[in-house]
């Protein structure tokens, strides 16, 4: 074979592999500590102490939980479709991790005279990629729920699928209004525009609100956690799952929460940019690092908001969920799109 067969820029490949590993590791660690954070926030809201036995402030609790899940007995029901039963949680994890590829985690970092962009793929269609992966995320729930061969799992899977499909529409419509202002689908461009101008939450308050509500629904978080309504469905789509397969489903939910928080921070709250970042007179690398901190600060604020809502609001009823999605959010998103379009056209003259 010819040596020039694989004319690949090896430095590029190694850079991207390192970046992907770092982003994956960070999302997994943050998801892990979100489970700890969730319990602490719940305890704080309910005037309890929360986990405080394993390590200082219970910080080793996620490790203990993970270890427990790994060593628990793994049960695959006799009537289940074995292959699909394993595929379900794998799909849930895969789709949860895929979205992080297009989020700009920071500006350019200059190491040894070489500029390294802290975004895995600055593609032209960044936001649409996220919509595509979110759309595929429902397969994990559906396949798992169906393969369990249990009527409660199946009902939960059907609920999950219809919920995700219904709330994708207003989410997409609220994004269209944002694109009318930004004129670009690349997340990097959207952040750079907010670095110079206003954050898009100021220009698109209704769009942001719709996006936020839909993000809750897409992550199956309370008040939209119908697919795992434990008092109606005995635990929902992962009823038959045990051991680490159950762990994957629960974990995927936390990764989804982290990614959608990062996405909301990027789209509407300036991403890695922060006020006065270009007038501080600091070295570019330092500004980049501060920018990463700013992005994570915004992301953590959203994760806290997710938890706050979960421990404050009760769950919707299924018909209320559908009514809210189709009869309130979609018309509102359409109206928002129409008004945004009219204003953009008017300002262009």
């Amino acid at each position: 074979m010819n040596v020039h067969l694989l004319a690949i820029d090896w430095f590029f490949v190694i850079e991207k592999i390192l970046l992907i590993s770092a982003v994956l590791a960070v999302s997994l660690v943050i998801a892990m500590y979100s489970t700890w954070g969730e319990r602490k926030v719940a305890a704080w809201i309910q005037d309890r102490r929360g986990p405080n036995r394993a390590g200082p402030f219970g910080l080793l609790q996620p490790l203990a939980d993970g270890g427990k899940l790994f060593f628990k007995e793994e049960i695959i029901p006799a009537t289940a479709n074995k292959f699909l039963f394993v595929l379900g949680p794998s799909m849930a994890m895969l789709t949860a991790c895929l979205t992080s590829a297009v989020i700009p985690w920071g500006d350019v970092l200059n190491i040894g005279g070489k500029d390294i962009s802290l975004q895995i793929a600055d593609v032209n269609i960044g936001v649409l990629w996220i919509m595509a992966v979110v759309g595929m995320g429902v397969y994990g729930i559906m396949i798992g729920g169906w393969a369990s061969n249990n009527k409660f799992s199946l009902m939960a899977a059907c609920r999950g699928a219809s919920q995700v499909i219904s709330y994708e529409l207003p989410m997409g419509l609220s994004l269209i209004a944002l694109f009318m202002l930004s004129g670009s689908l690349s997340l990097k461009d959207i952040v750079e525009q907010q670095r110079e101008g206003l954050w898009y939450v100021v220009l698109q308050p209704i769009g942001f609100l719709i996006f936020l509500i839909c993000a809750f629904a897409e992550c199956n978080r309370t008040p939209f956690d119908l697919p795992e309504a434990e008092n109606e469905l005995n635990g929902g789509y992962h009823l038959e799952y045990s051991s680490m397969k159950l762990g994957f489903y629960l974990f995927a939910e936390y990764i989804n929460m982290f990614i959608s928080s990062a996405l909301m921070a990027t789209l509407y709250f300036g991403g890695y940019s922060f006020p006065y970042m270009d007038s501080l007179g600091l070295s570019p690398n330092l500004v980049t690092i501060l920018g990463i901190c700013a992005l994570f600060l915004k992301t953590f604020a959203f994760i806290f908001f997710f938890m706050w809502v979960r421990w404050t609001l009760p769950r919707f009823r299924y018909d209320q969920l559908m009514k809210l999605g189709w009869k309130v959010l979609i018309p509102l998103a359409l109206l928002n799109m129409l008004i945004t379009g009219a204003v953009v056209l008017y300002r262009q003259g």
Partner: protein, 167 residues
């Protein structure tokens, strides 16, 4: 063995996946497996779009086909809970008729494509026509009438679905 570029290797890999999963769609007895194979096939075809640098087409293909249409397929199959054993047995002559008519269609397609002259395709895949801005400009200038007409068609299909659903 001649020189094979990385692109050609990815192309062959994607094509193999697409063909294998397409065969899986028609050969597997379980309808749910058929749908899952079809999803793999669509993802492989989406990979071909990205090889052509048609990023928008790639992502729309994923959103529309794998994200929406196949979810609905799977949804219906799961609701009806179709299994391999309750699938109605087709009569033999139906199978032969299907094979003969399918083969005839293949012959017609091969015959038509053999004589067709392909317009000179630009060498190299680094064209920008598939990027969203260029595609949007083309759709809203050269092809605006068919584009708008198809949107009316979609609207009528939606209204039709609602009317049928209300009955």
């Amino acid at each position: 063995m001649g020189t094979m570029s990385t692109e050609l290797m990815i192309f062959i890999l994607l094509s193999a996946i697409a063909i294998a999963s397409a065969l899986g769609v028609i050969l597997s007895k379980n309808p749910v497996n058929s749908v899952l194979n079809m999803i793999i096939c669509f993802v492989a075809i989406a990979g071909h779009y990205i090889m052509l640098n048609a990023q928008f087409l790639f992502v729309v293909h994923l959103i529309v086909y794998t994200g929406a249409i196949m979810v609905l397929f799977l949804f219906v199959l799961m609701m009806m809970n179709l299994n391999a054993d309750i699938e109605p047995q087709k009569r033999n002559w139906l199978k032969y008729a299907g094979a003969i008519s399918g083969g005839a269609l293949l012959l017609v397609l091969v015959g038509a494509l053999r004589e067709a002259s392909l317009p000179a395709v630009q060498a190299g895949s680094a064209t920008d026509i598939g990027l969203i801005a260029n595609l949007g400009k083309t759709l809203f200038t050269s092809y605006v009438v068919p584009f708008e007409l198809s949107s009316v068609l979609f609207l009528s299909a939606m209204v039709g679905a609602v009317v049928i659903g209300k009955k």
